[in-house]
């Protein structure tokens, strides 16, 4: 598995849930709310399910609901990956 970077997460997100609709520029993407990027709760769930399969990351129901932004999702995932290694 490649290291989980924002670039990699963005790729997974697009693969799972399609191209976003937001106007965020590259720099702003990470801190823009999923909903503003055009990604709904199912998009986040689908992405979470891929993170579980590929990286062993398990997000709770509340984390999935409350995660908010790609940056926060990356942080949660990396923390779990780091705790394991």
């Amino acid at each position: 598995m490649p290291e989980l970077t924002m670039g990699e997460l963005t790729r997974i997100l697009r693969e799972c849930a399609g191209e976003g609709e937001g106007v965020a520029h590259d720099g702003e993407f990470a801190d823009t709310l999923f909903t503003d990027l055009g990604y709904d709760s199912l998009a986040v769930l689908e992405t979470a399910s891929r993170l579980k399969r590929d990286y062993g990351v398990e997000l709770t129901d509340d984390e999935v609901v409350d995660v908010g932004t790609p940056a926060r999702l990356l942080e949660l995932a990396r923390r779990q990956i780091a705790a394991r290694s």
């Binding site: 191209e19 990604y39 689908e46």
Partner: protein, 407 residues
Amino acid sequence: MNAVVVTGLGVVAPNGLSTEEYWNATLAARSGIGRITRFEPERYPATLAGEIRGFEPAAHLPGRLVPQTDHSTRLSLVAADEAVRDAGLDTGQLPEYGVGVVTANSAGGFEFGHQELDNLWRKGPEYVSAYQSFAWFYAVNTGQISIRHGLRGSSGVLVADEAGGLDALAQARRLLRRDLDAVLTGAVDGSLCPWGWIAQTSTGQLSTAEDPALAYRPFDERAAGFVPGEGGAILVVEDEAKARARHAPRIHGRILGHAATFDPRPGTVPADDASALTRAVELALADAGAVPDDIDAVFADAAGVPHLDRAEAAALGAVFGARELPVAVPKTLTGRLCAGAGPLDVATALLALRDGVLPPAAHTQPSPRYGLRVVVGRPLELRLRAVLVVARGLGGFNSAMVVGASH
């Protein structure tokens, strides 16, 4: 009772990805039937289908919708978009719950479902997509169209195999008579994946011919099954007074009458029994306030299966007697589109009414034994005021609809 008019048409068909493209191809008898390309059909008993080729979802739909939709849902969204544009419908201008969506379906987003069964059984439960919870099911097209256009009125989904598409249009008319201003209705259907294919070949009713010119020849001595296809039509239907009040850009025609019936249990009557179908046609005429002489042409169900063709010819004979009523079978150019067939035939009938011309059937040489004047060779120009559309579903479903010209 107020008239129900069709103000918008959206067509996706194997021989045309818009209403005008389809109509031009149909008048020119350009067929969309060919060898299946979506999967390798070599090992299957039937290898021909009416596929919609060259469809790029990203060119028509937002990226977000692509991973969560089956091919047939994407096509239905494209047809709905065209219908809304054609009708000049600004849904924001209509009452909050004034517009609904009623579609028919036969097997849902079956290819999507096949993919997820493959994921589950080849890889494991954690590989099943979150979108499987709705992308395959029968209600998906109504739901996605309603979301895309913000339509919150009374809506629905009907399944009656190939007859369901006309039933959906009839349900839309019913809703307009109660409280809706407009309804997006019809069906876009198709299950051209290996798993859907063996379900269809299991009926033994598909043509096993490999030459598209010999495959689907309803009412022909050599009829030996049909070719399935994908596609259909979505229509905008409105209460006429309301359509006129909002200055709808055009009125394609009227939905005048409908009836649905169900055949007696197989084995209790001969296989070519026409009693229930005859009754559907008679009741549809009665519902339209029409007598047989008012009908100028028929768009036939045209199963291409001899006993079903006999039943349909018998029903038309029983209602219309010895009249030489022209019979159009444009579906010889597209294949049978499951639930999408009826709405596409209604759309085609409206275009025929508009232009005063019936499209020819391809490949068929009508046998005199059926006593039907099937339009073949080239388009037949004639004055049309009202047309009967017939749709039948496997298992005994009969649906008949009368549509009339806009004037």
